[in-house]
Amino acid sequence: MLLYDFDYERAGGIEDAVARLASLGREARAIAGGTDLLPNMRSAVAGPSVLVGLGGIEPEPPVRLPDGSIRIDALTRLADLVDAPLVAAHAPLVAAAAHAVGGNQIRQMGTLGGNLCQEARCLQYNQCHDYQFVAGCYKRGGDCCYAFPQNKPGVCWAVHMSDVAPALIALDARLDVVGEQGARRLTVEALYTGDGMRPLALAGADLIRAVILPPPPPRAGWGFHKATVRGGLEFGMAVMAARLVLGADGTCAEARIALGAVRERPVRAESAERLLAGAAPDEGLLARAAAEAARAASPLPHHGFSKRGLTDAIRVHLKRTLAAALERARAAG
């Protein structure tokens, strides 16, 4: 399907963009790299009549703030995030997650903020709708669900596919959001509603301005894995990010684990984190934690992967991801 006609307004800055979005109302959407929005407009799952372009706003380079935290402009291209020395030195988990997105062309256009704000996906929802799935599903304003016909009306199990969000959750990042009511700070988890119909907890004029990564604690290690069918140009089958912080005695002082591409929102695996916290991590414990995370996440079947297959995949890959994090934490100590 061809891209339809729409108006385009180029924002002079973030505040200007917010003001334009506020005055244009529901018909408008912000566009940064457009790697998610434009394909969705082409397949008629997004239909803004006006785009407010953020492309003219030069992102500020990543910077280390006086308190040791790192501020990354939300308009930073994913490719630049991969290459930024400050990110590589202090938040390699973010660089790894950014590198896992799409292919190089996608990363050259797609932005950090855009990756977090991508639309949830479902095999049927993301098809072209001119002769297939013509009548809208719940998410497209209709009254059916093609993927899960037995679902209650209005329940949408589209899956949120961000690769970067789980990494940011594992690092306990914060988001600087600007909107009509001014600026506010959110956790990354608070960005997501958990509702496939409307996955983002943002108002129409809200924009993420920056991501703040708190100062990395000592003896911390990270792990990241994106399970995919092939080597690149992929949405995840399951995405997992973890950070383990060790105490001076080698026990696990803190664990943060997040999963992507499993449900309508990135999922934090708190019950698995609790298993690890305070315990002496060994192979068996990591396996138990991974199994607990897989169980608790209760992945939705998506893109041909069964719930059982996804649970198996998370169990195995997360254990390896935790092992990688533990190894790095020990090396850091």
Binding site: Y4, Q127, C128, D130, Y131, A227, G231, F235, G304, F305
Partner: protein, 762 residues
């Protein structure tokens, strides 16, 4: 690189198409832009099986910018073949441009021409179609069940396309009675699609004499011309088909597609040129996939590995139209008479309509499916006989004089040569003895698969290759050929053959192709036959020009033509130093003598030659995740004579990539309840990427040249996609002891099979 003389065939000269392709100046059908050109779009059905009760285009016609709308009510109703070589047994005559009935979800029901693509698309929504739904069937079982809805009135019986093919040799019952080991298995293959880079596209224009010109991406320009002329009621002088470059076809672009007829009719109706191009999604839905296939195979073996009986039943799912269903079924089924020798054979192949999108010709043409089954079962037999699979396959490999599936004797020992060479190359015997990984979760395995494939579609079609070679007065030459250049480098190979034969530099030969009004008739580029068949025709045409050239030179040098030879552009008296004349001098005008007019015509009607291959593959299976990675491939191909080593290796590497996709990741999924396509696009249809490709160490052998091909050359196009599949499946078995009998093999299935195996062992 400009090479001369006898080194041209066998040298990787710079391909004639590469500069145009890498600089973007090569012209494809989709690049054609004509003054006043309109854009056509097709409305596709929103149901898999239905009668069209009412279709109303009035609102679409009222939309500003819309110039014409076609429905079944205003297009010619001519039952026609959808595939080339009409009236052959390979294809079916079962389609209309637009019918009163739809047979799969997404079939075209109307077409619009408008001043822009956007308006055309908008107009599609304004066409109202009322359907009378019919029960639909999406599996061959459902399609053959009692009471199943009949999809075509033209079918042989029920939904069976044509009379099932039955092949018998010897006495199967007797063979099984003598067997020490009988193995039977059921095998099932998926629905990969060719996924060519260039979507289907055509531009049509009528001139004021009533002549239609079509720029189109097709492998078979003369077939497009023939069927268009037949359906539109035109003499062939009123249809001209042009094909310059193509972005792949893989067999599927032999067919005529609905939009090609509609584009011509829209152009006629509007008196404007019209362009129609498929979206990527339409290349899936309105394209041609491989036939999903179910194979029941049973073989009997003696203790020493001799095969004493083979019995098989195959069922190919043709989807909503016949396309190449009969050809694929016949070729795929009869292939089971061969590869591994067996005197007692009984095979039955059938092809069945369903309400799925259309399956058609695709690289490997039925043999991908049946040799997958055969070679996996050979591996299983070796295990149960306690033999090395290489030894078992070598013991039974077809050889010189054996009857090929085409019922003529094979030339040479190509298959044995491939197996032996590959086994030596990888150190197979030592690999069999290697210690196996016990720790960790990674298990490595080696597997081997074999194949043979014919160059040309004989005996299903009696083919014919044609070429005209003209020599210019400066001693350069022009080859006129109808062979399509679908990206394989065919025109380069043909020019090499002409240069070689004429004793000219490669650069001294140019190729004219892709215009049905100019070049000699051509059957189309398929069946791995272009280099073999058209190459031989080009060689014959060049030889005729050479004969005339030496005749002329003989007169000039006052020697007999038989005493002359031509090399590097120079004609010399054999064995006499100094008595020479350049080709240019010989050809050009002299005082009072005009330049020569030398034209050679070559026509070649081949039977068939067979190429052979053995693929050796190492895989790694993660037993925790079920992930299968192909670590390396050593393909050994016997092709008679290598014309262009890099292009030949490129064919092999591309075939392996496609074959890895078939075996592990690619499957075009049709919703079993409704017939909707679930992954008609490159995000969700998973082709392997460059990142996924293992190292490939290609070995080309020239040990069994075929006297039918130019310099002994045989085909290479289809072969590489056939052996890779069973090689991977056999390697997976070697790694984890699980025998898969289907493709694609997914990680979830690997895990499930490992669990089952562990459960059975416990």
């Amino acid at each position: 690189m400009s090479r001369v003389g006898s080194s041209i065939v066998g040298t990787s000269v710079k391909r004639t198409d590469v500069i145009g392709k890498v600089t973007g100046t090569a012209r494809y059908a989709g690049d054609v832009k004509l003054a006043g050109m309109l854009h056509g779009k097709m409305k596709r059905s929103t149901i898999a099986h239905a009668n069209i009760r009412r279709i109303d285009a009035s609102r679409a016609l009222a939309l500003p910018g819309v110039k014409a709308v076609l429905t079944h009510e205003n297009v010619p109703r001519v039952l026609h073949y959808g595939a080339p070589h009409p009236r052959s047994i390979s294809v079916t005559c079962d389609q209309y441009i637009l019918d009163r009935k739809v047979r799969y979800w997404g079939e075209g029901v109307a077409a619009v021409a408008a001043t822009s693509e956007e308006i055309a698309e908008e107009a599609l929504d304004l066409i109202e179609v009322e359907y009378e739904p019919l029960p639909a069937v999406f599996t061959v079982e459902a399609a053959q069940a009692p009471g199943a809805p009949q999809i075509h009135e033209t079918a042989y019986a029920g939904n069976v396309l044509f009379k099932p093919v039955v092949v018998t040799r010897g006495d199967v019952a007797q063979g099984f009675a003598e067997a020490d080991l009988v193995i039977e298995g059921e095998y099932e293959t998926g629905r990969p699609t060719p996924a060519y880079m260039e979507p289907n596209v055509c531009v049509c224009q009528w001139d004021n004499t009533g002549k239609l010109t079509v720029w189109v991406s097709t492998q078979a320009a003369f077939m497009v011309r023939g069927i268009l002329a037949e359906v539109l009621g035109l003499p062939l002088t009123r249809v001209r088909v042009l094909v310059d470059h193509m972005g792949g076809g893989f067999g599927a672009k032999q067919d005529l597609f609905q939009h090609e007829f509609l584009c011509a009719l829209l152009a006629k109706e509007t008196r404007h040129p019209v362009r129609m191009e498929y979206t990527r999604g339409e290349t899936f839905v309105g394209g041609r996939s491989r036939h999903p296939c179910k194979i029941w195979l049973k073989q009997g073996f003696k203790r020493d590995g001799t095969i004493v009986a083979r019995e098989a039943r195959t069922v190919f799912d043709s989807g909503a139209y016949g396309s190449h269903g009969p050809g694929v079924t016949i070729v795929g089924t009869t292939a089971l008479t061969s590869l591994y020798r067996c005197e007692n054979v009984r095979l039955e192949g059938r092809c069945v309509y369903t309400n799925a999108p259309i399956a058609g010709a695709f690289r490997g043409y039925g043999v991908v499916q049946t040799y997958y089954a055969l070679d996996i079962q050979m591996d299983e037999a070796a295990e149960r006989l306690g033999m090395d699979p290489v030894e078992l396959k070598l013991k039974n490999a077809v050889r010189e004089g054996d009857m090929a599936p085409s019922d003529h004797p094979l030339v040479g020992h190509g298959l044995e040569d491939c197996i032996r060479r590959g086994a030596a190359e990888v150190g197979w015997a030592a690999l069999r003895q290697r210690p196996r990984e016990q720790a960790g979760t990674l298990r490595r395995g080696w597997g081997m698969g074999c194949e043979m494939h014919g160059s040309s579609a004989y005996p299903g079609i009696k083919e014919q290759g044609n070429a005209i070679v003209k020599m210019n007065e400066d001693g350069t030459a022009v080859l006129l050929t109808g062979a399509a250049g679908l990206g394989t480098g065919a025109h380069t190979a043909l020019a090499q053959i002409v240069a070689e034969e004429l004793g000219l530099a490669f650069d001294a030969v140019s190729v004219v192709h892709g215009d049905t009004d100019i070049v000699p008739w051509d059957i189309g580029a398929f069946a791995s036959h272009t280099t073999f068949m058209v190459g031989r025709a080009a060689q014959m045409a060049a030889a005729e020009v050479k004969r005339q050239l030496l005749q002329r030179a003989g007169e000039q040098l006052e020697v007999a033509a038989e005493d002359l030879e031509v090399r590097d552009g120079v004609i010399a008296v054999r064995g006499v130093a100094g008595r020479r004349i350049t080709v240019r001098e010989c050809m050009g005008p002299k005082l009072g003598i005009p330049a020569a007019n030398l034209v050679g015509n070559g026509t070649y009607t081949p039977t068939k030659s067979y190429s052979f291959a053995a693929h050796f593959v190492e895989v790694q299976v993660d037993i925790a995740t079920g992930q299968i990675d192909v670590l390396q491939v050593i393909p050994v191909h016997e092709v008679g004579k290598v014309v262009h080593p890099i292009a030949a290796a490129g064919q092999i590497e591309g075939g392996i990539q496609q074959g890895i996709g078939h075996t592990l990741t690619e499957d075009y999924v049709i919703d079993p309840a409704t017939g909707r396509s679930l992954n008609a696009g490159f995000v969700d249809y998973k082709m392997p990427l460059s990142l996924d490709m293992p190292p490939i160490r290609t070995i080309l052998l020239e040990t069994a040249p075929d006297p039918g091909g130019p310099y002994g050359a045989k085909g290479i196009g289809e072969d590489p996609i056939i052996a890779i599949g069973p090689a991977i499946a056999n390697a997976v078995h070697d790694a984890i002891g699980v025998r898969f009998r289907h493709f694609p093999i997914t990680p979830e299935q690997v895990l499930a099979a490992l669990k089952e195996k562990a459960g059975a062992a416990a």
